[in-house]
């Protein structure tokens, strides 16, 4: 039930009348239907303080959760890059795309199907989480982070070598070879393409997600109306 708000002029209960922000100051104004007096709906400071505090806390948690999700998705993609290097190449480093599908070994076949599906699922889910952005932005976020993780050992190795040259000492870090980096780049490009394909199911699922959100909103509104009518 709304909080009581009495018209100071004619004592009419104004609680059920919606307050509209005025155009000059943005104050929530309620016009009394009985005497046409415009009065401001003030809220209790206790209520205001806790509401702002709770809302800020919820927003901060949401930001943290989304950042963690993006990092997790990128780490998953990074794992997929390494997994695909194991799955689609032989011990000499030659690329065999079909072999895992027809290997006859259950785990290898499962991996061959699961890997592209996982990449598509990442692309699709990240799009659905960031519906307020343009479609390419969340995918780009994940791909940039994945590229960062994939090239981290290479970058750090070369950075350390540069420091070693300046300090004239011997570097003890193993840097991945150029051929390995090219192989990683190829699998990264393949997975990036699959993640972009994930935007197609995201378009179909977007309507379903929005519908479920609207359905939940209608359900809450219906419940509130029912409660109000019961109180009246």
């Amino acid at each position: 039930m709304p909080r009581s708000h009495i018209c100071p002029s004619c004592l009419t209960e104004l609680a059920r009348i919606r307050a509209i922000p005025d155009e000059h100051y943005g104050l929530p104004i309620v016009v009394c239907p009985g005497c046409q007096l415009a009065c401001v709906r003030t809220k209790h400071p206790d209520q205001q303080f806790w509401r702002v505090f709770r809302r800020t806390w919820v927003t901060i948690r949401l930001v943290i959760a989304k950042v963690i999700l993006v990092i997790l998705m990128s780490l998953l993609m990074w794992g997929l890059v390494y997994w695909s290097a194991d799955l689609y190449t032989d011990y000499r480093g030659n690329f065999h795309f079909i072999d895992p599908f027809v290997s006859g070994h259950f785990e290898t076949t499962l991996g061959a199907w699961g890997l592209p599906l996982a990449a598509i699922a990442i692309g699709c889910s990240i799009r659905l989480v960031f519906l307020h952005l343009r479609a390419w932005v969340p995918i780009l976020m994940v791909l940039v982070l994945t590229a960062f993780f994939t090239t981290l050992d290479f970058t750090v190795g070369h950075l350390f070598n540069a420091i070693a040259q300046i300090g004239s000492f011997r570097s003890q870090i193993d840097i991945p070879s150029a051929s390995e980096m090219i192989l990683r780049g190829q699998f990264f490009a393949m997975l990036a393409g699959l993640a972009i394909i994930g935007l197609v199911p995201a378009v179909l699922l977007r309507r379903s997600v929005e519908r479920s959100g609207a359905k939940r909103f209608r359900k809450i509104r219906k419940k509130l109306r029912k409660r109000r009518s019961h109180d009246d």
């Binding site: 100071p8 303080f49 960031f130 300090g167």
Partner: protein, 297 residues
């Protein structure tokens, strides 16, 4: 008795009732359904609680609770404690980096000190702390416990014989610079965001104070040898700490400054990416603090 306390009301003004929630300021009873009247003297709208007889003015919200200010003070206190804990963590991170660099850099000298003491002990028939460890004592020279009186007598000669501190300096340990930059950069971003009351220049003071504190602690001679017999690695580390700790701390500073300077920009950028426009309002202080407008959708 009740009749004496009743506020006089104007006749014919008892036409309205409270049709929503309103707690009595005296006993908390819900005044829903109570008659609203205008009192005689000032014409204010009032309602009387049927439970305790308290008169409630209806034109404003009830008196503000003192608990609001108490909770605010409590939250502010909690926030200060969180910041102090973060400061201590920052000190520990900087100290750990300085300590690990000093220890690793001093490793060759520690082995040399341990070797000299081990040979001296063998010649003089003294038992060393690693005597029964293994058949290859060379691998454990840095763990030999060095009596302080022996160290006072021989240490300068050992260092001079080895060609001074810089000749044994293992520069490959500069690898620690890379992870330290990353960690300190994130710490700078953190301080830039949490110290919203300060300008970016002032926000730099707090992490700088953490670094300065570590530096001061490095130069304080703690009497650790009073309680334990130091190992060769501790003796060598003490020699290098006075040189390496300032270097390790100064090397971190650029990453710290960059973190503090760009921290709020990074936070604003993350919020723009992660939150839809409607949800950004709660964190609008990150824009308004720097005199910026909240970006339009």
């Amino acid at each position: 008795m009740m009749a004496e306390n009743e506020t006089p009301v104007k006749d014919g003004m008892m036409s309205e009732h409270i049709r929503a929630d309103r707690a009595c300021i005296g006993c908390g009873f819900n005044l829903y359904g109570q008659s609203v009247t205008k009192e005689e003297h000032y014409g204010l709208a009032i309602a009387r609680c049927p439970e305790c007889g308290e008169v409630a003015a209806l034109q404003t919200y009830p008196t503000m609770s003192h608990w609001v200010n108490r909770f605010r003070a409590l939250l502010a206190g909690f926030w200060v404690i969180v910041l102090l804990i973060a400061f201590v963590i920052q000190v520990l991170i900087v100290a750990a980096f300085a300590d690990s660099v000093s220890r690793d850099v001093s490793d060759p000298l520690a082995k040399k000190i341990g070797e000299v003491y081990y040979n001296w002990a063998e010649e003089n028939g003294t038992t060393t702390s690693i005597a029964g460890w293994a058949t290859t004592p060379e691998a454990y020279y840095q763990w030999v416990q060095i009596p302080s009186d022996w160290a006072d007598e021989h240490l300068d000669a050992i260092v001079a014989d080895y060609g001074g501190l810089w000749s044994t300096f293992d520069r490959s340990n500069m690898i620690y610079v890379i992870p330290a930059w990353m960690v300190v950069f994130l710490a700078g971003v953190f301080w830039s965001i949490v110290l919203l009351g300060a300008t970016r220049k002032r926000a730099t003071i707090v992490p700088l104070a953490a670094s300065a504190l570590v530096l001061v602690l490095t130069y304080i001679e703690f009497p650790s040898s009073m309680f334990i017999v130091p190992q060769a690695s501790d003796v060598a580390k003490e020699l290098y700490a006075h040189i390496m700790a300032p270097i390790a701390i100064i090397v971190q500073l650029p990453a710290l400054f960059i973190g503090v300077f760009f921290g709020r920009k990074i936070a604003r950028w993350i919020i723009l990416l992660t939150l839809p426009p409607r949800s950004r309002v709660s964190l609008s202080i990150l824009w308004t603090r720097d005199g910026l407008d909240l970006p339009r959708p």
